[in-house]
């Protein structure tokens, strides 16, 4: 239970808000490269700002505010140029820095264009994704987390726009016990209702949980009933990468799984599931798996009810039923919520750091530290002990159009 004002500080992400200022200190995903292969623009909304992602004629990506400063038409219908984008309405051209460079119908000697500037943000590519930085100069380095920077991986990326504030999605990641119930007992209940009597590894009881702040976020550990403290789940754990990413380990495979929760605005989150699989040595990757596969993750059925027979759908149901912005003035936290409390405190501390002119947690400026950031990840995660196919078909990966090719490749020991 916190005050209304403290809840607002934690959940408002627009320009000029304390949380908005903090989040703007990080590189933020804005799309996948494949989205702009067959088209030139993509309209997006990030941190309450309406923007247009575009590819110019040289192949460089840019990001500018959606509305043309002339009379407000959308650059989503713009004409790509050699160095920027042109408004379709009257041909004003804007470069990657947001400077207007041409106003074709103004007098030839007019300097009016020099006065015109729009918001523009840099765009960088990594691991098949496009990232932007919306904060003040100097721009920090785009973190080269192992999931993105490992070369030659098979990449599949699920996405969904959820009508919910990003903070309750992040709090879910600091709440290990929910897995025992939502993905364990509730999953078993749902399966029984559908005529399948299954017992899943997720339902094993938590003996204890622990949370440690480290240089990129918080490491989360769990010890389950019957486990010794030498197991990966407790000894290694997996991290919540500050401020909006969860990195999950695997069941002994060369895989990376990032769940990124990008605030669209105060009441919407763009959820990305970025999965990268490392092919075994000498394994021939089939054509269907050679290119990043971007797909939508459905979470509602035809009647508008939540789809809760898969793990991520269960999470989505819980997040959205908490309300667009969870009312934290009326909650009742217990001792198993200590990870959530730690996350809130970490956000408040980092907001204070930004206000004091410091870099917040995880911002990287030293290139030597950024060649490849290897995150601590359990490699023998108990929850994934039922095997690749079973787990893959119980997560949102079931909706990936090339999931069968992925499972087939793994069944031939094609994943390291």
């Amino acid at each position: 239970m916190i005050s209304y004002e403290q809840n607002q500080t934690l959940t408002q992400v627009g320009p000029g808000t304390p949380m908005g200022n903090l989040l703007r200190r990080y590189w933020i995903p804005v799309g996948a490269e494949v989205e702009l292969e067959d088209k030139w623009t993509k309209r997006i909304r990030i941190l309450g700002e309406d923007l247009v992602l575009y590819r110019d004629l040289k192949g460089k990506f840019g990001l500018i505010e959606e509305k043309c400063p002339h009379r407000g038409a959308s650059f989503a219908y713009g004409i790509p140029e050699q160095d920027g984008i042109r408004c379709p309405y009257h041909g004003w051209c804007i470069n990657h820095e947001g400077q207007c460079t041409e106003q074709p119908n103004e007098p030839e000697d007019s300097t009016f264009k020099n006065k015109i500037r729009v918001k523009a943000y840099p765009v960088e590519r990594l691991g098949g994704m496009l990232f932007t930085y919306m904060g003040p100069q100097p721009v920090p380095l785009l973190p080269r987390y192992d999931a993105f920077a490992t070369e030659g991986t098979i990449r599949i990326v699920g996405q969904a726009v959820l009508p919910v504030n990003f903070m309750q999605v992040m709090e879910n990641s600091l709440d290990p016990v929910h897995t025992e119930w939502l993905h364990g007992h509730y999953h078993e209940f749902k399966s029984r209702e559908m005529g399948r009597d299954v017992k899943v590894a997720f339902s094993r009881h938590h003996v204890k949980t622990a949370f440690d702040v480290f240089e990129y976020g918080i490491i989360k550990r769990r010890l389950l009933e019957g486990q010794s403290e030498n197991v990966d789940d407790w000894r290694v754990g997996h991290p919540v990468v500050f401020p909006f990413t969860l990195a999950v380990g695997s069941g002994g495979l060369g895989t990376y799984a990032l769940q990124m929760r990008i605030p669209i605005d105060d009441t919407h989150t763009w959820h990305i599931w970025y999965n990268a699989y490392v092919p075994g040595e000498g394994v021939e990757v089939p054509p269907a798996l050679q290119k990043l596969c971007l797909y939508d993750v459905p979470w509602q059925d035809e009647s508008g009810e939540f789809i809760t027979d898969y793990i991520d759908g269960q999470d989505i149901m819980a997040w959205i039923t908490q309300g667009a912005v969870a009312d934290r003035t009326d909650e009742h936290l217990g001792t198993t919520d200590k990870g959530i409390i730690l996350l809130r405190k970490l956000f408040m501390e980092q907001i204070a750091k930004v206000e004091n002119g410091e870099d917040p947690l995880g911002v990287i400026r030293n290139p030597e530290l950024n060649e490849m950031i290897v995150l601590p990840l359990e490699r023998k995660k108990h929850h994934f002990s039922e095997g690749f196919e079973s787990v893959t078909m119980r997560f949102q990966t079931r909706f990936c159009p090339v999931v069968q090719e992925l499972i087939d490749l793994f069944s031939k020991v094609g994943i390291k």
């Binding site: 239970m1 916190i2 005050s3 403290q6 304390p18 003035t329 009326d330 936290l333 408040m348 501390e349």
Partner: protein, 78 residues
């Protein structure tokens, strides 16, 4: 038109969540309900616990409303 000083917009009072104490930082005495600090109320069995982070001095820690105080006496000779 009214003359004189312009109307000052009154800042609303900081709200106090239901059943929450107005607590102050044990280190610097600043109020912990301001919008940049954190006062999280949670429960540990019968005890009510307030996890505190003070934005003024960066102190963090817990304040506990004990339902019952139990103190173990030392063994004789120890």
């Amino acid at each position: 038109m009214l003359k004189g000083r312009p109307m000052q917009q009154r800042r609303p009072e900081i709200s106090v969540p239901k059943h929450t104490r107005k607590l102050f930082c044990p280190n610097c005495s600043q109020p912990l309900l301001n919008e940049r600090s954190l006062l999280v109320k949670y429960w540990r069995a019968q005890d009510t616990v307030y996890y505190c982070y003070c934005s003024h001095c960066a102190w963090c820690g817990e304040i506990v409303d004990n339902a019952r105080v139990v103190i173990s006496e030392l063994d004789e000779g120890s």
